[in-house]
């Protein structure tokens, strides 16, 4: 069942939803990267909650004009207008009043959402108890999605993705260094507005599948996960898009296998699983890599200190140091140094004395800054320089 879903053999409707969700995920992941890099990820939360009044108002308008009311492009237009109003409200409050951006975000999201809920009850009053089905926009619903709706979603996603590719340079520049970008003659507000506009477009496109409460997850989680894997903007954007695509594709496919697996939450949980994997396993920034790095460093420090103690003829009591030295064959089980141990200890002592010499000499100031008690001097100076240094060491230094 799951395999059939993943290989798109679960029927026409499921295939539509899966491909649409994948396109949406790719576009959302790459768009969200710029929001995350400019540290404004949660603005998208305000945008997405602010869509609700627009959806309901568009529904009411279309019903008043004698239409169906559930015509998706019309609802999307309405949601875009009210999300735009919410975005402007956040920007205005953060720029013109003393309130910080997070307060503006919270205020806009709760008030717009509350107003949307009031309007929802108005719809219920108007239609005298008939369910308009607008609640599905809260958490998304893919059952019974129409061909036209899926096409609108996939096209919308593709369009946003195209714009992201076009605008990636200015957006990256503004995200990292707004001052420099302004100095380059870039219009900051325009670029920022474009960035937010793309997030808004993603929200509007994703309403139907993921729902407005959770769409923000697709804009935040894939970029955060992707950031673990690379230090280059282009690569992070690509990986975020890839993660978003996987989450959308697999999430929609899994949710098609059983009725009680709602699409939006499954997609979000897939993205979260990718995030957890990245947090743990990513090279460089991942937790596992950091732990290994720490352990390796700890070993080096312990070994070095143990060797220096040996060279000074002091006994080593620290259990971890002893264990490490025994494992490296530097000391015997009773704590007495082996042949190799004595040789290594002498070298460590010589190295330490050379470093001391170096650090007391102002001519080597730049090299002395690299002293951390671990780096062998051979990695810092040339053989000639070391030989020159050794001449100052005196008889005691040559062991």
């Amino acid at each position: 069942m799951l395999w059939e879903a993943l290989s798109l053999q679960l029927g026409y409707n499921a295939t539509l939803v899966t491909l649409g969700a994948m396109m949406l995920g790719v576009a959302a992941g790459s768009t969200g990267t710029f929001l995350y890099l400019s540290k404004r990820a949660l603005v998208s939360d305000a945008i997405s909650h602010a869509t609700l009044p627009g959806v309901v108002l568009a529904f009411m308008a279309m019903v008043a004009l004698g239409g169906d009311g559930r015509f998706l492009p019309g609802l999307m237009l309405g949601s875009a207008v009210s999300a735009g109003a919410g975005l402007l409200a956040v920007t205005w409050m953060a720029a013109r009043t003393r309130l910080a951006e997070d307060a503006a975000i919270g205020a806009v999201l709760s008030v717009f959402f509350g107003f949307g809920v009031v309007l929802l009850t108005v719809v219920q009053v108007m239609s005298a108890g008939r369910q308009a089905g607008l609640e599905t926009f809260l958490l998304g619903a893919t059952a019974g999605m129409l061909w036209g709706e899926a096409v609108v979603i996939a096209l919308g996603g593709a369009l946003v993705l195209g714009l992201v590719v076009l605008l990636r340079r200015p957006m990256a520049l503004v995200a990292f260094d707004p001052g420099y970008a302004a100095g380059q003659g870039m219009r900051l507000r325009t670029v920022e507005l474009a960035m937010m506009g793309l997030a808004l477009a993603i929200t509007v496109v994703g309403l139907k599948i993921v729902g407005l409460v959770l769409i923000v997850a697709l804009l935040i989680i894939p970029p955060v996960a992707a950031r673990f894997w690379s230090e280059r903007v282009g690569v992070v954007v690509a990986i975020a898009g890839f993660f978003g695509g996987i989450a959308g594709y697999a999430g929609a496919a899994i949710s098609a296998t059983a009725p009680a697996l709602p699409t939006g939450p499954i997609i979000v949980l897939m993205a979260f699983a990718l995030f957890l994997l990245s947090l743990l396993l990513a090279p460089g920034r991942g937790v596992l890599a950091a732990t290994l790095r720490h352990l390796r460093f700890q070993r080096r420090v312990h070994l070095r200190q143990g060797l220096l103690a040996l060279a000074g003829g002091q006994p080593v009591y620290e259990p971890l140091t002893l264990r490490l030295m025994r494992r490296a064959g530097l000391v015997r089980a009773d704590g007495v140094a082996t042949e190799t141990g004595r040789a290594m200890a002498a070298r460590a002592r010589l190295d330490e004395r050379r470093w001391q010499m170096l650090r007391s000499d102002p001519a080597f100031e730049a090299a002395a800054a690299r002293y951390d008690g671990l780096t062998p001097l051979e990695e810092v100076l040339t053989a000639d320089q070391i030989a020159a240094l050794d001449r100052g060491l005196g008889p005691e230094g040559i062991v």
């Binding site: 990820a41 009043t97 003393r98 997070d102 717009f112 009031v118 997850a217 955060v224 697996l261 995030f275």
Partner: protein, 311 residues
């Protein structure tokens, strides 16, 4: 009129006011500490907590659900902090990752369990059910003195009332420590105040208020009341004491006006059904914030009240 009011409108009004005040008080400090969105995060993660509380005990009872919600809120705070430190991620994004994932988990659990039909459903969690908290024994104003009738009050009322009193008492007792550690953490530490514990305690109090209010009125009001009244109050004054006072006034005003508009507004326009009170309370608080942002005397950065014609 008197009887109808006491039976149908008094309990929701009082509950609304209590919830608004209980959230607005910690909201003031969260706002100044740039942690305003903690309320947003907490009110999202409460959902999985409630569902787990229900699944573990198998009954729709209040206490297990509230405990579950409190545990979920605590877990979310810990997770946000862990992810922020482990992954070196900015706090906003860490929060976004955690609360959306937990909310998604909650919705999934809800759909998986058969709970959807009972009393738990997502809509209920979002908008609450303020209108249904009626007092059938409230036969008139005299019932307020009648022990027998008082026992029939909706149980949410004493709960949120108690939480509100607790929040007020805590704020009053901790006032100096809270204010100092909010404005100048370094100075607070030199005074020997445990700033870390104060920050955590503040978030914990906010979580308790959010869970209690959520139980009664749904999550929209919780988010709105954490942010809108304190934010509006911030634009009115430069004194902390006055800010808190303003925020309480705004919170009460939102609750009363919102409830009245939602309950009676449609009747005045000739319709029969009432609108969502929770949504209307949030809307009114937003309107108040909007007015404060346009005309509040201290709306600009820099602190000094705006003189006529200046700036």
């Amino acid at each position: 009129m008197g009887q109808d009011f006491v039976m149908l409108s008094l309990p929701p009004l009082v509950i609304g006011i209590c919830a608004a005040v209980a959230c607005a008080l910690p909201g003031n400090f969260l706002l100044l500490r740039r942690q305003a969105l903690i309320g947003d995060a907490i009110s999202h993660v409460v959902l999985p907590g409630i569902v787990v509380g229900f699944l573990v005990t198998g009954v729709v009872a209040t206490w297990p659900m509230m405990l579950g919600a409190a545990a979920a809120a605590l877990l979310a705070v810990v997770l946000i902090e862990t992810i922020r430190r482990l992954g070196r991620i900015e706090p906003g994004a860490a929060m976004g990752v955690v609360f959306t994932a937990m909310f998604a988990g909650g919705v999934l659990l809800l759909e998986q369990s058969a709970a959807s039909g009972v009393h738990l459903d997502v809509q209920h969690a979002l908008y609450g059910n303020l209108e249904s908290l009626i007092w059938l024994d409230g036969w008139g104003w005299g019932a307020l003195m009648d022990a027998e009738a008082l026992r029939g009050l909706p149980p949410e009322l004493p709960r949120i009332g108690g939480v509100m009193l607790g929040v007020i008492a805590l704020t009053a007792v901790m006032w100096r420590a809270l204010v100092i550690s909010t404005f100048d953490e370094g100075f607070a530490r030199t005074l020997g105040l445990p700033t870390g514990a104060i920050g955590l305690g503040l978030v914990a109090v906010a979580a308790v208020a959010a869970v209690a209010a959520f139980d009664a009125v749904g999550s929209i009001i919780v988010i709105a009341m954490f942010i809108c009244p304190p934010a509006a109050a911030r634009l009115m004054t430069n004194r902390m004491g006055w800010q808190v006072a303003w925020s309480v006034v705004f919170a009460c005003l939102s609750a009363v006006l919102g409830y009245v508009l939602a309950g009676y507004g449609p009747l005045w326009l000739g319709y029969q059904n009432a609108l969502s009170a929770a949504g209307m309370i949030a809307t009114v608080s937003g309107a108040i914030l909007g007015l404060a942002a346009l005309f509040g005397p201290c709306r600009h950065r820099g602190g000094a009240p705006v003189e006529n014609g200046a700036i």
